[in-house]
């Protein structure tokens, strides 16, 4: 079974830097994820949104990469949000307590709306 390497596109939505994640978040994803995060971090915004709509697999190494992004965001006082996680990965974000430190939204619209009022 071929690994679906991660591709990431970075864009702005109403002042929020959105990372559109496409593929698998595993050990192969580190460079793509960190490069895209740096691009988003350079934009003039305090909020970065991880859009998981096109992600079908996150393993424990991928969880560690997301922890790394969260640590970077905290160090620079930026908010990191997540949206479009499947039911299964919402459960995993809950049991790992990632969702205690990064709010999880059902879709991009609700995430951006929350970011604009807080």
């Amino acid at each position: 079974m071929a690994v679906r390497h991660l591709n990431v596109e970075v864009r702005l939505d109403t002042g929020v830097a959105v990372l559109d994640l496409m593929g698998e978040i595993n050990g192969f994803a580190e460079e793509a994820l960190n490069t895209a995060y740096a691009e988003a971090d350079a934009k003039e915004t305090n909020t970065i949104l991880l859009n998981f709509e096109e992600v079908d697999y996150i393993n424990s190494t991928g969880i560690a990469l997301i922890v790394g992004l969260l640590a970077k965001a905290r160090a620079t006082h930026k908010r990191l949000l997540a949206c479009n996680l499947s039911e299964h990965y919402v459960e995993i974000f809950n049991i790992t307590r990632l969702s205690d430190f990064m709010s999880v939204f059902p879709d991009e619209e609700s995430a951006v709306e929350e970011a604009s009022v807080s």
Binding site: F28, H88, I92, T96
Partner: protein, 155 residues
């Protein structure tokens, strides 16, 4: 004390296979196990939990047991014993088997850089199945994942 031989007569083998220890092969094992349990009442979120546990156990076997040496296989056995689904994943690790571990990782410490951001695998496995056992001998380690096949078909 029950007779192990008589207990085995109630075992139904669903699949037995192996994969080389190459990064990404945990996906192959996840999908093959999912296909093998297709006739059981494990669906939806319960199936996703089983697949995550199988994937993480396979990654541990490839990484820690077999050091990602492609010539070293990870062997997988899927069977139903009584009312339990058992998935046994065996590597060629030597020395004492790893401890069950699986305590809740300290996310705050990881975010503060006081701990490595890694170390989620055993915790995820324990969280996804009803029971987990790790055994080993001189040349093998086996992690056994157990899902009770109750009325709801799993955890």
């Amino acid at each position: 004390m029950s007779d192990p031989k008589s207990a085995r007569t109630n075992a139904e083998l669903l699949a037995e296979f192996s994969v080389p220890s190459e990064p990404g092969n945990e996906r192959l094992v996840m999908e093959t196990v999912a296909e093998a349990v297709g006739g059981l009442d494990i669906r939806g979120e319960n199936l996703e939990r089983l697949k995550t546990a199988v994937g993480e156990a396979t990654m541990n076997a490839m990484e820690h047991g077999n050091k990602y040496s492609p010539e070293l296989p990870v062997e997988v056995r899927v069977e139903v014993v009584e009312r339990d689904l058992m998935v046994r994943i065996t590597d060629r690790g030597s020395g004492p088997p790893p401890s069950r571990g699986g305590d809740v990782p300290d996310l705050e410490a990881k975010l503060e850089g006081m701990q490595t951001p890694r170390g989620w695998g055993l915790f995820l496995i324990k969280s996804m199945v009803d029971d987990m056992n790790i055994t080993g001998d001189d040349g093998h380690h086996t992690i056994e994942l157990v899902v009770h096949l109750g009325a709801e078909g799993g955890k």
